[in-house]
Structure formats: structure tokens, C-alpha cells
């Protein structure tokens, strides 16, 4: 079996963010790393952030820095990754791509201890960069310009220090003196030798300054002084003299952020120290220190300040009073509280950007009270799924044509959410109003060509036309020159300032002064179809004739004398938009009465035919940009909608006039209607069937996505002051105005807040309900918190009510000591999208697993069993007692709790009884009168059982360390026996096709000869006495497929995403990714895609050899085979990069594969669409 890997939703976490002028204009942009993906975001003047470019790195980006050469205007980005290479990227705004300027190899790939890539520090003047590892290795590269003003990079200079663990590296601002770097290091030579442990306790954390001597071209250790042993972060302090005034920009040096305080340090200068203010929460753990997790320095003219964020989310503003290079004092002030971020960026326009690694938000202490935002205003929020803790796919909403929804439990702590992801674009409705009748079409029009907004809405009914004017309110107008007594076929703003209406009996050309020129259809005939653009009008008559009109330079509409007889009635037709600066477009497509599409050019006839499977209902020709076909010019697409709900899309070759590259897609059950609209300023096509779909260009590639909106009968673009970029549609007798805020986001999210970090959820086997358990470590449960408050009050301490009031969603909950848990269980109705009030566990009990079990003993009655534990500690795992809580869903009040000796981490219904993984033991429980009764046990597992799955009497057990075990239950002897296991040790399993915590997904299979052996052995005695192999079970599983996805798999499910489609493996990843593994159907496909993948691997960007497709220079094959070589899996993300290749390279690869470029692209799209529908 071969698998094809596809990402549906790339990771949504942000672990690094930098700000810079990457386009080289005045506009500031933010570059963010989302783990294995690099994205460029652009905030607009209001702070709304849009993604301009996103690209897979095929490697993990660990550090990101921006720099600018002296005197330059453009920022470059430097990436530190796990590729063993340093990469300098330039953003090319013209082509919207990242260009790799330099890629220097310095070490082995992988996130290793002594291979640099973890830390990046760049000289503020952009002269040199230091890249550091976790231990020992630090390399300095000098950056410069050559004679042709190209960026150059030197060979590396070493600044290694053996046996030193590096905590952080930062560049020191020294103006134009020799570049200097500060590093926080700890030497482990002595502690490693001293058995008494004294050296360990006396180990000093050194703040070391390294100077790059530009004259001598080497790095020297300039200064090294011990600092606080709990220091974790360095922050650059501005320094150097400004060239014009000789004034110092700042005192230079660094801020050393330590647990509970911040120290200003500089070479040979006095140190200054301030404590970090704590929150005054009465319930906080007093023993706990506070560390700073992210920091940003902001420099304005003649002043600067720092914003530091603590691990609880509080922002502190730090300022330094200085006289030239002499620091007078250091001040710290509570600023505001926002969720904990991994990166902070301040933009020149005053916006603060938080790269939130997760949606967590804990609280403030000792000397201040947290309050709502005073200094900051939330401007824009980028939706993030990160982290996804559990996921499940099912189709619970019964709307027609609805694809299965993905339900995920996301987030952590008080910002946790339960989310539903649906395939489609979000549509935001702004107005909806009832109409007197049921219109069959709607248009909007401007009055003049240069108007910004539309002025009229025209509605066509069976026997009349209604014109509404758009102003402060939308109201009916009658003096527009439009004929209101007949239905309308087409409306167009034509020429500079005229309007045009086509109705069955003629054409009305309404001039600016309300004079009307009317063309009447010869008696006995009517117009059956019309198509228009800014200068041309074509109407088809019932006598199967085409009449052509064109606007002349005086603004007169002239009929082209030669009427074209068609032979059969024209069903539908479409004319392209007039190209910029031209008088007319030469292309008209029309479909006549019989089942073939004819293609007809206005200048010289040529006919083409396309085989159609059903009568066409609509046709639309539009010019849209698709970089996979043509990078520079828009491509002319002909879309044909059929009455059976199928859409055909073909590309019109303007040179040969031929139709190529036909792709089909099923849209819905109703005949398709096609409308050319403008969405976000670019031409798009709206295809209406039982669902509405939008065909649009996003990041230069064409996308086709359904709208999550009521099905529409007709629609048109709509632009007014309140809704400048909207669409107007009719659904029955309701007029709806809506807009599409986020193009490119193919999965729409709906979310519901939760109390604590979700752990697991299961669905009810028959009802549409979810049961979800939540638990938070280091958090006090409501009953414990209440008791502690009472104790405080009893001991005479005053409790500040203000501290207790602010909601945990904003400020989080106070951190308690380890071993304290808050936990609850809740029932969610995903159809009504609501949750029952959660039930809290009391007495420090936390839930870890749950299952719905039909107990045979009670006639298959469903019971919910929740595995909990009291006073649980994580490392090493311990608890005072585990509890299995059982509740019947049918008989009220029938509940019991059974105590166990360890934490029950996995539960499952098994043959009418309960199978439980309790610590290292696998047990079967049956229902008793008062308690659950232990029936059978197997204790031969080396580590805790974390997941269970079953096939008949076979059980697949995943434990925390040793991969999968196959067990079988033999009822006659009442035995649970392990008969096969996996050969490679792994950790933390999720499922049978399983994922581990290093980001691998793999499939295992039992050798075929084992099955009969195990199944035919009635008592299991054979298995019991068989010889063990490799210190494990007698049989070993075979690895079928293996693939590294770069994200920890939190759920795996076999599901068909497309109605009638094949089953695929859908996974959710911890950092918010959702992806698929699709088994290939044929050997042919496998060979084709494997060969394509091979070609893509060797394809370089700008001829840069290995790792060419990866912006971090990681070899794709070694990344996908991070821990175990890739097996039987093709990387679809890499293959889809084919669309981005230059046309010449595309053609070269396609010819190697004996296909055309179009065929390769079609295959890629086909694989994605048939597997996921996305």
C-alpha cells in the first residue's frame, strides 16, 4: 500500500515573528514562522492583517531574524532551522516569492545539541550574524555588499566554547564599533566531574561578550562575568552614537531577564536590578518564581522602551534613564495583560503583534492588580487552532451536500475551545430583507464608469422589473429609464455614463440625461439570451439568430448589420470582459440547442466542441490569474455549468483558439448558474447550485471553494460604502447582502469556549452528542479554591475581592503547586451548537479517559465510564487513587465509582464489558451491583497504556514507550495475551495506524501467517508458551508505511470526506494542522506520483541544489524520514509545489513524465479533490 500525504490545514501556531520592510517599500510587514511554514503578513492602515505569502519549509524553522544592510531600504530574513544550514531570504514583491540569496552549510541536519540553528543574533547595523546551538557551537557570518550591491556572506568564524550550555544569545548594540554579541552560558565541566554535587550547586551562569574584530577577522571572548543562576533571556539595549548629533542612542549593554527580576548589565559598567512585579492573587503559589518569556525593544526618535511579557501573560514596560552611556536607573511598570506570546513585534504605526504559540493565558502578583486593557486595543486576531488536543470527523449537520465536519478540542487552560471545522469559505451577512415576490435574477450597477460604488439594484421578476437605489437606505425608484413592466435579461453599465437593460422585447440604452434609445426586436421574435460587457452586447433571438451591438467612440450603440443565423436556439452564451485599453474582446462562447458547446470568435469564426454529459445551463468566460498555468498574464477560462450540477472548466488558448485542460467538478443537485463577480478586487466566478461555490485567485493560484451560506438562486457583485466588497444574492424571496472576509481559508471555524484544557472527547454511538473531559494541572478546582479562601479568611488575612473578580478568560487562573488539578466533564450538542453546564470533579480529582460501554450484563445498556485519578503527579506518574466512574445514560441515578491502584489512561468498550488500561496493566471489568468488577488482567506491559483499539477479540494496545502490542482475549480461559508487538520503540501512541510524539505517522500490519495461528488457538496456551523474540512478544508486526509530518498527531480517523469517495486517514496535529493520508488506487498513480516527487526533490530554487524546494535548505527526503526512513508515502505538499515552478521547469518535468503540464496539474488537483473535496 502506498500513501499520498496532503495537508488540509497547515499548522496555525506562531513560534517566531519578526517585523521588517521586506518588500523594500515603506510598508512594514511581519514574517512569521509557523513551525514548518514561513508566512509573510501585511497589516493595513487599520491593523487588519492579511497573509501575502505562505510557503512550506520542509524543515522546522527554529529561529528567524530580519536585518538590513547599512544605507539599504529593504530587509532580508535569516532563518535558523534544523537543516544544518543558514539561509538568507529575500521577498520578491513582483513575483510574490521568497528568493534564497544564500544557503551556507555548517553542520549536520536535525535539531541537534551542538549543531547551530537554535539561536540567531544579528548586529543591529546588519553587519554580522551569530548563529548558535544549544551547546558549544556558535558561528559568526559577516554580511556585506559587493561592488554590484549584492548581499554577500563570509565563511563562518567560530566562537565555540566546549562544555557550555547556551541559554540565549543576543547582539549588543555598539553603533559602528566592532559587532558584539552577548551569550548566557553555563559550563558543565566541573559538575560532570564532581561526585559530591557541590560543583553543580556552585555552577555559575556566565554572561559572556564576544567581539567580532572586523579588522582581524576573528571572534574574541571579550568579557565574561557571572550573573543570576536563573537567568533565561537577554534583551538588547540600544547604544552607539547617532551620526548627526554625537548623542548616544542609549547606554548599550543588555537586560538579563531572570526569575523574579531584571538586571541591566554592560561590560565594565555598574549593574542595575529591578524586581518583576507579581500579581497579588491570594491563591497564588508563593514559592513560584516568574520568568519573562518574550520581549521586544522599541526605538523611537531619541527614546526607547522595552515591553517584556511574563509567563502569565502580563506585559511590563521597562524604561532606562541614562546620561549618555551611564545608566541612572531602571524602571518597570505593569502595562497590560494579553495572552502569552512566543514573539512580540511593534510596528512603526503603533501596532503590537503577538505571535501566540498557543491560546493560553494564565494570571498577575505581589504588587499589582491585573486589569483590562488600557494601553492596548485589540485590532485584529488571526484565528488559530493551535493546539489541537483531540479531533473527530463526522457528518452531523444534515444540510444537503454537506461534507463531513471536523470537530476539534483546541487550546489550553481558560482559553480552550471546542471547534467545528467545515469545508468552505465564511460568508458574513450584512443585510437581509424580504421581497414582495420571488425574483429570478439580481444585478447591481454603477451609474458611471468611474463611480466607486454601485447605485442601483435591479431585480427581475417573472412579469416585471424592480429597481432599488442604494443610498442611506435601499428604496425603490421609478424614474431610472428602465422598463419595469417586463422581466430583465441583462443589465450593464456601458460606455462612460450610460446604462443598458436587455428585456425579452428589446434593448434600452439609458443615457446620462435619462434619454432612452430603444432597439426593438422584430415582431414575432423575442430575446432568449443576452450577454454584455462594457462595450459589447450580444443577444440571441428566438429565431436562432445572434444580433451583435458594439459601442462606438461617440457612445452610440450600433447594431452590426450581419445577423448570424445559428440553426438552433442558443441556450446560453457569455462574452469576455473587454481587455484593458481595447475596444472589444474577440471571444464569445455560446451553447446551442444540441449537446455540444460551440465556440465562436467575433472576428473570425472557429468552432470547437466539447463533449457534454448533460444539457448546459450556464456558461461563463473569465480572465483569471493562475500562476500554475501562466505566471504573468491572466488565463482565459471557460466554465460550463450543466443541468445535472456538474461544472466543466476549460482553458482557452488565445493563440490557437483551442480549449484544453478540461476539469470537472460536481457542485450540487441543481442546474448550475455562473456569474462573473469581483471579490476583493479580482475577477472571480460564482457558481450556484444546491451549494454556492466561488472560483477565485488567492496568492496567485486558483481556488474553488464552497461558500458556507444559504443556497442562492442568483447573485451579483455589490459595492456600497458600508459593504465595499460584497456580494448580493437572492434566496427564494429574500435578498441577502454578504461579503467574504477571508479568502484562502478553506476551513471555516465555529468555536465554543471551554473551562480547562480539553483532554479527550468521544461521540455517543447513536445520539448526536459529544462527551468531553477537561483537566488542568497546577490549577485549583473550585471547591479547593473556595476552601483555601475560607482558610485565609479564618486566619485573619484579608482577601482582595478585586483580585478574584477578573475573568479567567482574560487573566487566567492562579498557578497552583504541582499535583493540583481542576477538571470537569461536559456534554456538547454539536447540532444545536451548545453545551450542557459542565460537571466539576471535586477533591483534586482529574479526568483522563472516558468511554461509552454497552454492558452485556445489563442487556446492552449504555454506560458512560470516566477514568479519573486523585492527587495526580506527572513525573514520575503517581496518584493516591484512580477511580472509574460509571453512569448509566438510561437509568437515572445509577452510578458507581470503582477505585483503582493507578491512573486509568485508556478505556474502551470490549465485548459488552469494559477494557481499561490502568497504569501498566490491561484489565477487563464487568458491571457489578455496586462496583465494577475486575475480571481479567495482563501486567506484561513495560510502560503506561495510553491507547486502546479493537478488532473482534483482538486488542491493539499502544503504550507510552514501546509502540504497539497486539493482544487477544481468549474467553474460555479468561486470558488476555500479547501475541505480537512492534520492533521499534516509540512513544505515545494514538491509534493503530499510529502517530508518535516525534511527529511520525506509520502503518503496521501483522504478518499474514500470524492471524490463523492466533485465531485458531482456542485457549491461548500456544501463545502463552511460545518463545519470545527480541525480548517481546513471539510475533512482530511489519511496517507498511512511515512518514514524518513534523507535528505531533493527536487524533487519527479513517473517514470518507467526499460523498461516495474513498476512505482516507485524517489526522489532526498538535500545532493546529489537519492533514490526510490517501491510499493510492492504482499502481500507475503510485508510480506517477513517486516519479513526480523524485523530480520535485531535485528541483532547486535558483539552481541551489539539495533542499532546493525548501526555504530552509532542508533535504525533503531526510525531513520526511526524520527518525525512520520514509516508507511507501508520497509527499503531496512537495508535489503541489509543481504549480509554483517556472514554466520551463514545469515543461521539462512534465516531458520526463510523458505528460503535458496541464495533465500533471490536473492529476494533482484530482488527487486532492477526490480525497478531500478541498
Amino acid at each position: 500500500m502506498h500513501l499520498y500525504h496532503l495537508t488540509l490545514q497547515p499548522p496555525t501556531c506562531i513560534n517566531q515573528a519578526v517585523v521588517g520592510n521586506f518588500s523594500g517599500t515603506r510598508q512594514q510587514e511581519i514574517m512569521v514562522s509557523r513551525g514548518s511554514r514561513l508566512e509573510l503578513l501585511r497589516p493595513d492602515a487599520h491593523g487588519k492583517v492579511t497573509t501575502i505569502l505562505a510557503q512550506d519549509a520542509f524543515g522546522s524553522i527554529r529561529a528567524l531574524a530580519a536585518f538590513r544592510l547599512t544605507g539599504g531600504t529593504k530587509d532580508y530574513a535569516i532563518l535558523g532551522s534544523d537543516s544544518g544550514r543558514i539561509v538568507i531570504l529575500e521577498y520578491e514583491p513582483k513575483t510574490n516569492t521568497f528568493n534564497k540569496l544564500h544557503q551556507e552549510t555548517f553542520g549536520k541536519s536535525g535539531a541537534r545539541r551542538i549543531v547551530p540553528g537554535q539561536y540567531l543574533a544579528i548586529d543591529p547595523k546588519g553587519r554580522a550574524v551569530m548563529i548558535g546551538a544549544m551547546e558549544k557551537a556558535k558561528l559568526v557570518y559577516i554580511l556585506n555588499r559587493d561592488a554590484a550591491a549584492n548581499l554577500t556572506i563570509s565563511s563562518p568564524l567560530e566562537a565555540h566554547k566546549n562544555h557550555a550550555i547556551i541559554h540565549h544569545i543576543v547582539a549588543v548594540d555598539v553603533g559602528f564599533e566592532n559587532p558584539m554579541y552577548a551569550a548566557l552560558e553555563v559550563d558543565y565541566t566541573e559538575p560532570d566531574r564532581d561526585p559530591t554535587g557541590e560543583a553543580f550547586h556552585n555552577a555559575e551562569k556566565m554572561l559572556t561578550f564576544y567581539e567580532l574584530d572586523l579588522g582581524l577577522n576573528h571572534v574574541v571572548r571579550k568579557w565574561s562575568e557571572p550573573t543570576d543562576p536563573r537567568a533565561n533571556l537577554l534583551v538588547q539595549v540600544p547604544g552607539g552614537q547617532s551620526a548627526s548629533s554625537n548623542k548616544f542612542d542609549g547606554p548599550s549593554g543588555v537586560l538579563v531577564c531572570c526569575e523574579d527580576h531584571i538586571i541591566y548589565r554592560h561590560m565594565d559598567h555598574e549593574q542595575h536590578r529591578v524586581p518583576i512585579p507579581h500579581r497579588e492573587h491570594p491563591l497564588r503559589d508563593k514559592e513560584r518564581g516568574l520568568i519573562i518569556v518574550s520581549a521586544v525593544m522599541h526605538k523611537m526618535k531619541g527614546a526607547f522602551f522595552f515591553l517584556l511579557q511574563s509567563e502569565e501573560g502580563d506585559l511590563y514596560k521597562v524604561t532606562i534613564d541614562h546620561e549618555d552611556e551611564e545608566v541612572k536607573s531602571l524602571k518597570i511598570k505593569y502595562f497590560d495583560t494579553v495572552p502569552v506570546s512566543s514573539s512580540l513585534c511593534i510596528l512603526k504605526s503603533g501596532f503590537l503583534f503577538f505571535g501566540m504559540s498557543d491560546a493560553s493565558m494564565p494570571l498577575p502578583t505581589a504588587f499589582f492588580k491585573p486589569r483590562s486593557l488600557e494601553n492596548l486595543v485589540l485590532v485584529d486576531e488571526l484565528e488559530s487552532l493551535n493546539p489541537i488536543v483531540d479531533g473527530r470527523v463526522s457528518n452531523l449537520l444534515e444540510a444537503a451536500g454537506e461534507t463531513p465536519q471536523i470537530f476539534t478540542a483546541c487550546g489550553r487552560g481558560p482559553r480552550s475551545t471546542f471547534r467545528m471545522l467545515r469545508h468552505g469559505l465564511e460568508a458574513e451577512e450584512s443585510v437581509s430583507s424580504d421581497l414582495p415576490g420571488i425574483p429570478n435574477a439580481v444585478w447591481t450597477t454603477k451609474l458611471r464608469e468611474d463611480d466607486t460604488y454601485d447605485s442601483y439594484i435591479i431585480l427581475s421578476f417573472v412579469n416585471g422589473t424592480l429597481v432599488l437605489s442604494i443610498g442611506e437606505t435601499i428604496e425603490e425608484v421609478s424614474d431610472t429609464g428602465f422598463l419595469s413592466s417586463a422581466p430583465t435579461l441583462a443589465v450593464q453599465q456601458i460606455g462612460n455614463d450610460a446604462l443598458l437593460q436587455v428585456h425579452p422585447h428589446g434593448i434600452r440604452h439609458v443615457l446620462a440625461d435619462r434619454r432612452v434609445n430603444e432597439w426593438k426586436v422584430p415582431p414575432g421574435k423575442t430575446i432568449v439570451s443576452a450577454t454584455t460587457n462594457k462595450r459589447q452586447v450580444i443577444v440571441a433571438l428566438s429565431s436562432a439568430e445572434l444580433v451583435y451591438f458594439e459601442l462606438d467612440l461617440e457612445g452610440q450603440l450600433n447594431e452590426y448589420q450581419d445577423r448570424k443565423a445559428m440553426g438552433s436556439t442558443v441556450l446560453t452564451m457569455s462574452v469576455a470582459e473587454v481587455p484593458e485599453g481595447r475596444q472589444r474582446t474577440p471571444y464569445l462562447v455560446r451553447v446551442s440547442g444540441h449537446l455540444s458547446e460551440k465556440f465562436y470568435s467575433l472576428s473570425n469564426d472557429f468552432r470547437l466542441s466539447v463533449a457534454l454529459t448533460a444539457p448546459p445551463s450556464a456558461i461563463c468566460i473569465a480572465e483569471m490569474l493562475d500562476a500554475s498555468i501562466d505566471k504573468n498574464r491572466p488565463t482565459l477560462f471557460v466554465n460550463i455549468g450543466l443541468t445535472n450540477g456538474v461544472l466543466l472548466r476549460t482553458v482557452l488558448d488565445p493563440v490557437q483558439g483551442s480549449l484544453t485542460d478540461t476539469r470537472t467538478r460536481f457542485l450540487g443537485t441543481r442546474p448550475v448558474r455562473l456569474i462573473r463577480v469581483a471579490v476583493h478586487g479580482s475577477p472571480s466566478i460564482l457558481a450556484l447550485s444546491s451549494r454556492s461555490w466561488l472560483n477565485y485567485t488567492h496568492q496567485n493560484l486558483l481556488h474553488f471553494t464552497p461558500l458556507i451560506f444559504e443556497s442562492l438562486d442568483h447573485a451579483w457583485s455589490f459595492s456600497a460604502e458600508l459593504c465595499p466588497d460584497g456580494l448580493i444574492g437572492i434566496a427564494g424571496s429574500v435578498l441577502r447582502i454578504f461579503q467574504i472576509p477571508k479568502l484562502g481559508q478553506k476551513l471555516k471555524q465555529e468555536s465554543m469556549p471551554l473551562l480547562y484544557t480539553p483532554r479527550k472527547f468521544i461521540s455517543h454511538p447513536t445520539n448526536k452528542l459529544f462527551y468531553l473531559i477537561e483537566s488542568d494541572h497546577r490549577t485549583l478546582g473550585p471547591d479547593v479554591a473556595q476552601k483555601r479562601l475560607e482558610d485565609l479568611a479564618a486566619s485573619g488575612k484579608s482577601v482582595d475581592q478585586d483580585m478574584l473578580d477578573p475573568g479567567p478568560e482574560v487573566f487566567g487562573r492562579p498557578k497552583a503547586e504541582s499535583g493540583q488539578w481542576a477538571s470537569c466533564i461536559r456534554i456538547i450538542d454539536p447540532v444545536q451548537w451548545k453545551s450542557l453546564p459542565p460537571i466539576h470533579f471535586t477533591r483534586n480529582e482529574a479526568a483522563f479517559s472516558l468511554a461509552i460501554v454497552p454492558f452485556n450484563e445489563r442487556g446492552g445498556e449504555l454506560h458512560l465510564v470516566v477514568g479519573t485519578a486523585r492527587d495526580t503527579f506527572l513525573a514520575p506518574r503517581s496518584c493516591t487513587t484512580g477511580v472509574l466512574r460509571r453512569t448509566s445514560s438510561q437509568t437515572k441515578g445509577a452510578r458507581c465509582s470503582t477505585e483503582t491502584d493507578d491512573v486509568p489512561l485508556a478505556l474502551m468498550g470490549f465485548r459488552g464489558r469494559l477494557l481499561a488500561g490502568v497504569g501498566k496493566a490491561l484489565r477487563i471489568y464487568d458491571i457489578g451491583k455496586k462496583k465494577l468488577l475486575r475480571k481479567c488482567e495482563n501486567k506484561n506491559f513495560a510502560s503506561a497504556i495510553v491507547t486502546l483499539n479493537t478488532q473482534g477479540s483482538r486488542i491493539i494496545v499502544g503504550d507510552a514507550q514501546d509502540s504497539l502490542h497486539y493482544c487477544v482475549y481468549k474467553p474460555p480461559e479468561n486470558r488476555l495475551l500479547i501475541f505480537a508487538d512492534d520492533t521499534s520503540p516509540r512513544l505515545d501512541y494514538v491509534d493503530f495506524a499510529a502517530g508518535d510524539k516525534f511527529g511520525n505517522i506509520f502503518l503496521n500490519r501483522l504478518p499474514p501467517n500470524v492471524t490463523p495461528l492466533v485465531d485458531e488457538d482456542p485457549t491461548g496456551a500456544g501463545i502463552l508458551h511460545e518463545k519470545t523474540v527480541l525480548m517481546g512478544a513471539p510475533h512482530k508486526t511489519r511496517l507498511l508505511a512511515h512518514f514524518h509530518i513534523g507535528d505531533i498527531v493527536t487524533s487519527l480517523q479513517r473517514v470518507a470526506l467526499v460523498p461516495g469517495g474513498r476512505e482516507v486517514l485524517l489526522y489532526t496535529g498538535l500545532t493546529g494542522s489537519v492533514g490526510l493520508l490517501v491510499p493510492f488506487v492504482s499502481k500507475e498513480d503510485t508510480d506517477f506520483m513517486t516519479t513526480l516527487e523524485q523530480h520535485m526533490r531535485t528541483e532547486g530554487i535558483g539552481g541551489q541544489g539539495a533542499g532546493g524546494q525548501s526555504i530552509v535548505g532542508r533535504d525533503q527526503m531526510s525531513y520526511r524520514g526524520y527518525y525512520v526512513p520514509v516508507k511507501a508515502a508520497v509527499d503531496g505538499d512537495l508535489c503541489e509545489r509543481f504549480a509554483w515552478l517556472p514554466a520551463a521547469r514545469q515543461a521539462a518535468i512534465a516531458s520526463e513524465l510523458d505528460r503535458t503540464v496541464g495533465e500533471v496539474l490536473k492529476k494533482l488537483e484530482g488527487l486532492r479533490v477526490t480525497a478531500s473535496g478541498l
Binding site: 501556531c13 513551525g35 522546522s60 527554529r62 534544523d82 549536520k108 536535525g110 535539531a111 541537534r112 545539541r113 551542538i114 540553528g117 537554535q118 544549544m134 551547546e135 558549544k136 566546549n162 550550555i165 558543565y188 559538575p191 560532570d192 566531574r193 561526585p195 554535587g197 555552577a203 536563573r230 533565561n232 519573562i292 518569556v293 509567563e311 502569565e312 502569552v340 512566543s342 498557543d358 494564565p362 493551535n386 488536543v389 483531540d390 489550553r412 484544557t757 480539553p758 479527550k760 497546577r778 483522563f848 479517559s849 495526580t872 506527572l874 491512573v903 489512561l905 485508556a906 510502560s943 503506561a944 495510553v946 491507547t947 507510552a960 510524539k997 513534523g1046 505531533i1048 498538535l1070 500545532t1071
Partner: protein, 107 residues
């Protein structure tokens, strides 16, 4: 995420002696091995003690957790700590992950 309870668990991520020392080096160039050891911290050798090996393993693992964002996030969620704190504590732990070294035998 029940697995989170198995929380901070240190494991063998890689085997340092499997570095790309080519076979001829291993057998012939004994003079160079010392140089290689200095260069590739964590590379094992014949006289390595259990303590040394374990310490290297743990340091490698800690570095791997800090270096792989999803892993630090995973631990952070399990323990309900911020990622910054997890990374800091992991780096701190690299100093002496397995306690003080055993007393040297004199023989």
C-alpha cells in the same frame, strides 16, 4: 491527550555513537578519535561509563525538546506551563540531567 500524564519523560532520541564515523576511521585512525570526540560532543567511546552515556542521552533529549517546537508545546500543555518555561527548565536541566556523577573507583 491522556498521554500528557506520562508528561516529562526522557527518552533515547538518537544514538550518538552512530555518527557518521566511517568504518575505516573507527578501526585505523585511533589517533583521530580523540580529535573527533572533542569535535562531536556526545560521541561515545569504548570506555564510556553508564553515567556518561546516560547524561549525553538526556542532554540530547532536552536539546531535542527545545529544538522541536511541537515537543515543547506538548510538554507545556501536559504540565500546564508556558512554552517559555518548559524551554527554560529543559535548558537548565541540561547542566546535570542525571544527578552528580558516581564516585570514581580507584582500581
Amino acid at each position: 491527550m491522556s498521554t500528557a500524564i506520562s508528561g516529562i519523560r526522557l527518552t533515547c532520541v538518537k544514538r550518538p555513537w552512530c555518527n557518521n564515523m566511517s568504518s575505516e576511521l573507527r578501526f585505523t585512525a585511533t589517533t583521530q578519535t580523540e580529535h573527533l570526540h572533542a569535535r562531536y560532543t556526545g560521541t561515545g567511546h569504548a570506555d564510556m561509563t553508564k553515567y556518561d552515556w546516560l547524561t549525553h542521552q538526556h542532554r540530547d533529549t532536552c536539546a531535542s525538546i527545545v529544538g522541536h517546537f511541537p515537543l515543547s508545546l506538548y510538554l507545556a500543555i501536559g504540565d500546564n506551563e508556558s512554552i517559555g518555561r518548559v524551554k527554560f527548565e529543559m535548558t537548565e536541566r541540561m547542566l546535570q540531567p542525571c544527578g552528580p556523577p558516581p564516585e570514581k573507583d580507584d582500581d
